[in-house]
């Protein structure tokens, strides 16, 4: 880390450094773009993966924290930029350096009202065009009369404002149309069985070929980040179940790790092992449901029944231990909520015994099928460079050849002790994304096999103070959800409630890449490509 600091302080004398759990560089806004470019392009630094942009309101100033990671090394880095102008906050955009920043910056604009100079799309992301106020600002007026629930269709604009800097350094406002004047735009969603939730695509087509897709989200934006600011730390955990409901255990695990890191709580070994087993079980269940719904999108309804059979078996195991089929609330700060069911080990072993047979069956029915091959092979190819540029992690990123498994790149809990392969494929098409998940089921089963006979005895939860207060500071934690890297950023002002809890879901980049990945494909392939990306809408909308 010291070398990074030395290198940057030489190039950017204005930068100041702060060592939290991640090295944080504070830089004046004017130098942000050149710093970003250096960080990405320098061979030693190579921070090419923008994990998230955390919008912040520090009351006296507004700003952003950019969390960076790399596809080649395991370092992480944060850049902090701020502005004291609350009326007309403006920062420079980094969307030319990392393409995914375009949508991340739109999110920050939506929540904090910070305008990004140079971003081509400055529309609100989740909220209506007429929404009054910026909800994540600390001085946001929560009066429901300002933004009433209305049955009138929302006002929409076909264009967006752009803020560009001219040669003299002046900011000019320009209007730009999202689609070209004579584009034929078809609306798909939000109520559509194949969009996997309430997501809407405005699709410009040329005959049957897709020209451009404008992803329109916010139909299930529930304001979880704002809600968390009014709740105590143990209470915030419950929302993690309801983001990506297939990766409930993994998300809980992520936030728990972050809070435990902040509070300095040591988790007992038994709880760590149980958490990892649960994570992997939910990964298998999640991928099974993916196989089912994806095949159903392609018209193979029978596969849904086959795939859900395994999922039901896993849900039974979870039901016995956690007491619920879906929203478990099982991981708590310091460990897990309840001890394992007495039949847990036997049930999991029974599952592991039938799993290989089932996977063989899926492959026999579906993977080798000629229709499947024609519809999936070579369709929706995402190159490795684009996957990194768009921060597409998880099985979708690994299918493009990017080894981005958070369990390997930034090991947490006991993953570094375990023997498993990171499934990486080269093709980057829909078929690769499908096969990658199939193989990951086997790898998850391998992890569980290693652990199931060696669950140590002991406590299931560490001693945690009844009223949990975190010291002043900030923490960042990445875990591997079922669909990619899930990150949480936590900032505490020393009270029992988080000052800011930013949830960086893996599904937002998955939706953002749809436009890039589908353009030039046929409109019928939109369903296959969208299905193979496997995004969860409540996760991206939060």
């Amino acid at each position: 880390m010291a070398t990074i600091q030395e290198k940057i302080s030489k190039l950017f004398p204005a930068a100041t450094f702060e060592q939290a759990d991640t090295l944080q560089i504070t830089i004046p806004d004017a130098q942000l773009q050149s710093l970003a470019r250096t960080l990405r392009d320098d061979a030693d630094l190579a921070f090419d993966f923008l994990v998230t942009i955390v919008g912040m309101d520090w009351k006296d100033s507004l700003g952003c924290i950019y969390y960076l990671a790399s596809s080649t090394h395991a370092n992480t880095l944060a850049i902090k930029v701020s502005t004291t102008d609350r009326e007309n906050p403006m920062l420079h955009s980094v969307s030319e350096v990392w393409t995914i920043a375009e949508i991340f910056e739109r999110e920050v604009y939506d929540f904090f009202g910070i305008v990004f100079i140079g971003n081509k799309d400055m529309r609100r992301l989740f909220l209506n065009i007429d929404w009054v106020g910026y909800p994540l600002r600390k001085d946001y007026d929560t009066n429901p009369d300002l933004n009433p629930v209305s049955i009138e269709n929302e006002r929409q604009s076909d264009g967006t404002d752009m803020y560009l800097e001219n040669a003299e350094g002046k900011i000019e406002k320009k209007h730009r149309l999202i689609f070209e004047k004579d584009d034929f735009v078809v609306n798909i969603g939000p109520q559509h069985p194949a969009t996997h939730g309430v997501l809407r695509f405005r699709t410009a087509v040329d005959g049957e070929t897709i020209k451009k897709i404008d992803v329109y989200m916010g139909y299930i934006h529930r304001g979880v980040e704002k809600l968390c600011e009014d709740l105590t730390y143990p209470q915030t955990l419950h929302f993690m179940d309801r983001l990506d409901y297939f990766a409930a255990h993994n998300y809980h695990h992520g936030l728990c790790l972050c809070i435990e890191k902040a509070a300095g709580i040591e988790v007992p070994r038994r709880a760590q092992v149980i958490r990892v087993i649960m994570d992997e079980l939910s990964r298998i269940a999640s991928h099974c449901l993916f196989i089912g719904t994806f095949c159903m999108d392609l018209g193979a309804t029978t596969m849904l029944f086959y795939a859900l059979r395994v999922r039901e078996q896993i849900l039974d195991i979870m039901d016995k231990t956690c007491g619920a089929r879906m929203t478990f609330n099982y991981d708590v700060i310091g460990g897990v909520m309840a001890d394992l069911d007495e039949n847990f080990v036997a049930d999991v072993k029974a599952l592991l015994a039938v799993l290989p047979k089932n996977i063989k069956e899926y492959n026999k029915i579906f993977t080798g099928n000629v229709i499947t091959k024609n519809r999936m092979e070579g369709v929706g190819v995402l190159s490795k460079a684009d996957a990194i540029d768009y921060s597409v992690t998880g099985p979708s990123g690994r299918a493009s050849g990017w080894a981005c498994d958070g369990r390997k790149t930034h090991p947490y809990s006991i993953y570094s002790e375990l023997d498993f392969e990171q499934v990486v494929m080269e093709e980057g098409d829909s078929m690769a994304r499908f096969k990658c998940r199939m193989k990951e089921i086997e790898e998850s089963a391998r992890i569980i096999e290693q652990l199931i006979d060696n669950i140590p005895a002991g406590d299931i939860c560490a001693k945690v103070p009844k009223v949990l207060k975190l010291p002043v500071g900030k923490w960042f934690q990445m875990v591997e959800g079922c669909r990619g890297v899930f990150a949480v950023y936590l900032e505490s002002d020393g009270s029992t409630k988080p000052y800011r809890l930013k949830i960086a879901p893996p599904c937002l980049p998955l939706a953002a890449v749809v436009d890039h990945i589908t353009s030039g494909n046929k409109i019928a392939d939109l369903i296959t490509i969208g299905g193979s990306l496997d995004y969860i809408v409540p996760d991206m909308d939060r």
């Binding site: 304001g223 309801r242 409901y245």
Partner: protein
């Protein structure tokens, strides 16, 4: 009159008073012998083939998928024909949170359902806003937006609870007046007059 469905014993049902009130209303109003017989026949058919609209916004929707799969198999009850178009569906299982941006879409879907139409509010979010009630961007229950027939609590409700909920709806359909009753669009007019929005 004991109203039951799928060979469930009458005592096993909850909320029998509600159904008895409906039966009483039906009997008080009186009906023509022929029309009444047709009513019974049609309601028997209707109550055994309620087609849902494929509509889900979040977690509850996944339990609804489980409901369609082999284990819970809603095909046993005649509900498996999930339609993607509201024009072909009988009821709407509102599975998941309804947020401000979704409200106009949701209302339009409801309006597009062909009469007679029913709504089941499934899960805490649809009933009251659930865990997200205090949020700035969540409708506090769908009861203010459309008339709701059955509430199924849970977060999410187990598939068994959903089955029970739809069976309750099926019971309700059995004691309705089909001719000159449920088909009338005026039926919902009063609700919308009582619940003006903006």
């Amino acid at each position: 009159m004991e109203v039951t469905t799928k060979s469930m014993p009458y005592e096993a049902w909850k909320d029998n008073e509600y159904i008895e009130k409906l039966v009483q209303e039906l009997q008080e109003n009186g009906t023509n012998v022929i029309v009444g017989t047709f009513d019974k026949l049609i309601n028997w058919g209707r109550s055994n083939s309620i087609w849902p609209l494929t509509f889900a916004t979040s977690c509850c929707g996944i339990e609804f998928v489980s409901l369609g799969a082999a284990r819970f198999d809603m095909a046993r009850f005649g509900w498996e024909v999930a339609r993607a178009s509201p024009r072909q569906a009988d009821f709407m299982m509102v599975a998941g949170t309804i947020v401000n941006r979704m409200v106009p879409v949701f209302r339009r879907l409801y309006d597009q359902l062909a009469e007679p139409k029913y709504v089941i509010a499934c899960g805490g979010c649809a009933i009251s806003g659930g865990p997200f009630r205090k949020s700035y961007h969540v409708a506090k229950g769908i009861g203010d937006i459309v008339p709701v027939d059955v509430f199924v609590p849970g977060c999410p409700p187990r598939p068994e609870a959903m089955i029970y909920g739809i069976m309750q709806l099926s019971r309700k359909i059995k004691v309705e007046k089909f001719f000159g009753g449920v088909n009338r669009q005026e039926r919902n007019q009063k609700f919308f007059e009582d619940h003006p929005m903006d």
